[in-house]
Symmetry: C2
DNA sequence: CTGAAAGCGCTAACAT
DNA sequence: ATGTTAGCGCTTTCAG
């Protein structure tokens, strides 16, 4: 009497124990094994049986238990993706490229975030590997020894992405940041700039930014020049910091004629500052960033930058994993993409 | 030496059976059960035995199999988080709040992205529930019937976030977007603006943006006013679109004195356009966005906006899940946060 | 086409 | 403090 559900509440009472194949089996009068076959579309099952099972499963609201399934079949449709951050716009774009491809292959992306810490990366990898994924994609080539050992021992495809300046555990897909820095330096020098400053982030573990700066300085050095002034920031809005740092840098070094920024947000801040101060860009001073983020499209002037091929990197990496899973042993691949310079309106035409 | 892999050629992954507890057991001479205890820090184990096990596990590079562990213990330290997008800056911030709290409780965040599609949300939820997570956090209150049924039947804590204008499956944490729109309208009216336009995104499934506009219009209506002109955009850089749409809107309706934007990026684009055109902001025209994203800190003028309490929402939602797991049945909670108005410099002082 | 039996690798619950 | 015994819910394998 009191147990009777009210007419207005046709929803099934949440079961105390999650449903199992057996429940569907009993409800449909079909053996567990055949139910399993129907639910996985595997093997031949007669149409009437099939319908009975599907109906019962839907009525009950059965959701299969992948934990049991994975244990029994020794197969998991998960691919781990390890990146430093989600707030950097750049990484969601890589992820997009990855999941575009993985989805087609029926693989599920699992994301892990390291906050640019190798120690945390190690934990995240351990956690991921404990779920026995079909593959791992990890940003960067710098890892702890333990992380590298884990990855090597996992016996699954591993793709390190975004950078090719180093030795991969298995495969790698990315650009040379050393070369990117070098190319930007050459472009700047060709345009006639000579007194060059740098603004970056205080991230000791952002190895890609570090490599860009190294390549940049190497190219300047070959031309007999150096980076005359540099500043690094830590935390806060990158756009705002770009403004402040540009102001501070130009105050200290009024004769700089170019500022190379480690990313587009800093560069955008610098650009806004200069325009507000009535400083002639790119005449009096030139600016460049890195990444070609979408934001720069809406700025008063198009910031010079470089395409970091994020989407493409994601896609190619995912293809390696998907192919590896399809039986084709595609390990040990090295794919280097070409980062194009987008000169925009903040570098003088040569 | 014939086995030596040529560079560039697919080198086969060393065939290896993943390590099991038994391997560690044999290597250390300790029973599987005790090894398991050591690795989980559970039960009393003598220090010498403990060390032997730890050493063996490390030597072998053993990574436990959580699939088996979860099946046996009927416990999974995973919490599913379902959000529409990762490129909207806003969602990574919610995620940050969530994982801050979950990490402390030893829970792992698993992210699913719906691309603002209810059909895809349903798939993502199904996929997640099949891993039997300890809880689910999902953005928004609008779901397919099947999704709602799944969530209700899962028998785990479910928290719907970011919105409180509706009926939750279980708990909800968010702000009233209806109220947010209304409050902004009141602020604008108090400041004396009367000819008001709106710019938004063409997202039929962004229910929160829709509710804000509804609340906004309701408040205008009560004051005997209406939104005189509106435009919606689709795809592309939001900042750039904000510029273009503002230009177009002001061209068509030169006598507008305020533009309310469905988000800060659009508003920022509008602001940049106005400043470039020498239009007096906030004198000639006022502007407002929504979300209080970090970006607006670096703009030439601080855009008026509203704090959407993202971090806090994430934290509170995660706390409900963590508490629910700790045995305290905290279901059916409703937490409404207060979205503060940040008037910035783009609304006249009353 | 369908079913019965035997695990997958681990842990809960008891022994000892 | 350590070992033994049963499964967890599913899939593989092999028989009907």
């Amino acid at each position: 009497m009191a147990e009777q559900p009210k007419p207005g509440q046709p929803r099934p009472i949440p079961p105390r124990r999650p449903l199992t194949l057996r429940d569907v089996s009993e409800r449909s009068g079909v053996s567990e094994m055949t139910v399993s076959r129907v639910l996985r579309n595997r093997g031949d099952v007669s149409e009437p049986t099939r319908q009975k099972v599907l109906l019962a499963a839907r009525d009950l609201g059965y959701v299969p238990n992948r934990i049991a399934g994975a244990l029994a079949s020794q197969r998991v449709n998960l691919v781990g993706v390890v990146i430093p951050s989600l707030s950097n716009q750049v990484f969601p774009e890589v992820l997009q490229g990855i999941s575009d491809v993985l989805e087609e292959s029926g693989l599920q992306t699992v994301i892990g975030v390291t906050r640019y810490s190798l120690a945390r990366e190690e934990e995240v990898l351990y956690e991921m590997l404990s779920w026995r994924p079909s593959g791992i994609i990890v940003a960067g080539l710098e890892h702890s020894d333990a992380s590298r050992a884990m990855l090597a021992a996992a016996g699954i495809p591993v793709v390190e992405i975004m950078d090719v300046n180093g030795t991969p555990v298995d495969s790698m897909v990315g650009i040379s940041h050393h070369l990117a820095g070098r190319r930007m330096a050459q472009t700047i020098l060709t345009a006639g700039y000579r007194r060059i400053g740098f603004l970056g982030t205080k991230m000791p573990d952002d190895h890609r930014a570090r490599k860009r700066l190294e390549g940049f300085e190497a190219a300047l050095c070959e031309a007999g020049l150096t980076v005359e002034a540099r500043d690094f920031y830590d935390g806060g809005s990158a756009l705002q910091k770009g403004r402040e740092m540009t102001a501070a840098l130009l105050q200290r070094h009024p004769d700089l004629d170019f500022i190379y920024c480690s990313n587009d947000m800093i560069g955008a801040g610098g650009l806004l500052h200069c325009l507000e101060q009535g400083i002639d860009v790119p005449g009096r001073i030139g600016l460049a960033g890195f990444n070609a983020i979408e934001l720069i499209q809406g700025l008063p002037r198009r910031l010079a930058t470089m395409d970091s091929c994020r989407r493409e990197i994601g896609r190619r990496a995912a293809e390696i994993i998907a192919a590896g899973r399809a039986g084709q042993a595609r390990s040990g691949q090295v794919i280097e993409l070409e980062p194009a310079i987008l000169p925009g309106d903040t570098i003088r035409r040569a």
